[in-house]
């Protein structure tokens, strides 16, 4: 276990030094301004809209982090051949991948905490101004939603590691990760549409239904972690849902990272 930690720390430092992180912080500041501006235009549920804006921009910024910082962390080692130096040390390839991933997880958690502070500040400012227009509002739900987003980003990052473990360039892993993200967020809707196709008046072959159902187990279901609507309206989320969602996220992440390290072990470097 010992070689994991240094790799993780180096990865984290490398990530935090990336200029993209500054860009993300700048965007977060803009989000605060936009939040104040838009809330002026809302008649009744100012609270809902400001929570929407804050949580959505956090998700978006987290996505940018995974796509443009995360993928490069692994790909750069491969592209620039610095991986030879690492693998020459007494560390297995599997440990290398897991260490890198832990560093990325650390980076995601730290960045999301910073973004969370920005979000809280922006919601707080709007709430001070329109305190009477926050009929259904709860801070715990907002924090729960941000934690769920963090978990979904960790899952997506694990997938990007899986793609990077076999893709020849970082561009291919980028495209595959974006595809996984889109599939992950539309999977539930597509499955519901295919399974109840009669209600919207379309014909779907039974084979397609089976295919989608199988795909549902293979591809990640990221919409499980999207509880922004519930957070914005303070709708109840049962403890059992939280438990199963978190376990799904952790188990899926572990499976993906295990497969990634298996593939990476067999990979031949030029």
């Amino acid at each position: 276990m010992t070689p994991l930690w240094p790799v993780a720390v180096i990865t984290f430092k490398e990530g935090i030094r990336n200029r993209a992180v500054y860009g993300i912080s700048l965007f977060a500041l803009m989000m605060m301004a936009v939040n104040l501006l838009i809330s002026d235009m809302i008649m009744q549920e100012v609270g809902k809209v400001s929570v929407d804006i804050a949580l959505s921009s956090i998700s978006f910024l987290g996505l940018l982090l995974v796509l443009f910082v995360g993928i490069n962390l692994l790909a750069k080692d491969l592209d620039k051949r610095t991986i030879y130096m690492v693998l020459a040390r007494p560390i297995s390839r599997g440990e290398y991948i897991i260490g890198k991933f832990l560093g990325m997880v650390l980076l995601i958690v730290v960045t999301m905490s910073i973004l969370c502070m920005f979000a809280v500040a922006s919601i707080f400012l709007v709430k001070m101004r329109y305190s009477g227009y926050f009929p259904r509002f709860s801070w715990p739900m907002i924090f729960l939603s941000i934690s769920f987003t963090t978990l979904s980003l960790i899952l997506l990052s694990a997938l990007s590691f899986l793609f990077a473990s076999f893709a020849s360039t970082s561009f291919i892993s980028l495209i595959l990760t974006i595809a996984a993200y889109i599939i992950g967020h539309s999977m539930t809707d597509v499955k519901a549409l295919v399974e109840a196709s009669q209600s919207v008046g379309i014909q779907v072959a039974p084979f397609t239904v089976k295919l989608v159902q199988i795909a549902y187990y293979i591809f990640p279901n990221l919409s499980i972690f999207d509880i922004k609507t519930q957070a914005a309206h303070d709708l109840a989320i049962p403890m059992s849902y939280i438990f199963w969602a978190v376990s799904y996220g952790l188990v899926y992440t572990c499976i993906v990272i295990t497969i990634a390290s298996l593939i990476f072990r067999k990979r031949e470097f030029p």
């Binding site: 549920e45 809902k48 929407d52 959505s56």
Partner: protein
């Protein structure tokens, strides 16, 4: 000289850029084309394409409707708004609430503008029905629907149904309950009204409100009794009683029930039982 050349070139190009953009914008406006805003992307498509940003997309759709309506106001007389423009506002609000059915503002805006402005009562009610279904803690939406049924559509039965729903929700005023029973009474739904008032009585802790409910309940029970007696009379004699006195002559009643509001029961022209107090305390 060489170094100054790019600067001079920029200086020359800049006025041309501004001039050109202004001209082409002017020309673009007069290009023959359809109303580019006249359609709304169907919500199933919006749902899939907005990924995890459904709430935000819902907000944006609502703001679009609001800005569009602002444009109509600026144009002047709101009466001159075309049918497709109202329809567009309705479709946009509908899409916004498909993405986030818990969002209150589109319903609120729809109730204000689609009814009074556009006269699209049925559409407004369908929209509000969706909101009432999801926002089951909110008495405002069923109250709006009840009002629309009562005021615009003159459907008292429906109105009373929705007012009953509204009065049962947290924060709903007990005034709705009395309003609902009045409408129910006029809409010949006496039994429903009785059940409703009994239900409200169970929940109510305020003594003066309880008293009011009990009076209303007594009056409604009197009406129900008379309605049933009229049916018995019809069964026996094959014709409807001419007045309530006929019920006593026929031996169905020894004494007519009293209206606790101080009025007198009578048989209205349509055959239903009414009272001169109209279920309001007579002073």
């Amino acid at each position: 000289m060489r170094r100054a050349l790019p600067v001079v070139l920029l200086m020359l190009l800049l006025p041309f850029h501004i001039l050109g953009l202004q001209a082409v914008t002017r020309e673009w406006k007069s290009l023959p084309k359809g109303d580019d805003i006249a359609y709304v992307i169907p919500s199933p498509i919006l749902k899939v394409t907005s990924l995890e940003f459904k709430g935000l997309t819902s907000d944006v759709m609502f703001l679009r409707a609001l800005v569009f309506f602002g444009g109509l106001l600026e144009r002047g007389n709101i009466q001159e708004t075309k049918k497709w423009e109202w329809r567009w506002i309705h479709d946009t609000l509908n899409a916004s609430t498909d993405l986030d059915p818990y969002f209150y503002d589109p319903y609120y805006f729809g109730e204000a503008q689609l009814t009074w402005g556009a006269n699209m009562i049925k559409e407004a009610n369908t929209l509000l029905d969706k909101g009432s279904k999801y926002r089951d803690w909110d008495w405002m939406l069923p109250f709006f629907i009840g009002f629309n049924h009562f005021y615009f559509l003159q459907e008292n039965d429906k109105a009373s149904e929705y007012l009953m729903t509204a009065s049962k929700r947290p924060g709903g005023s007990s005034m709705f309950a009395s309003l609902a029973t009045r409408l129910a009474y006029k809409g010949q739904r006496t039994e429903n009204a009785i059940v409703f008032v009994e239900e409200m009585l169970k929940e109510e802790k305020n003594e003066s409100v309880r008293e009011e409910f009990e009076t209303r309940l007594e009056a409604l029970k009197g009406i129900l009794l008379l309605e049933r007696a009229v049916i018995v009379y019809k069964d026996r004699f094959g014709i409807a009683p001419f007045s309530l006195k006929d019920l006593i002559t026929a031996g169905i009643f020894a004494k007519l029930p009293e209206d606790p509001y101080g009025g007198e029961f009578y048989i209205a022209l349509d055959g239903s039982i009414k009272t001169t107090s109209d279920l309001r305390l007579m002073k």
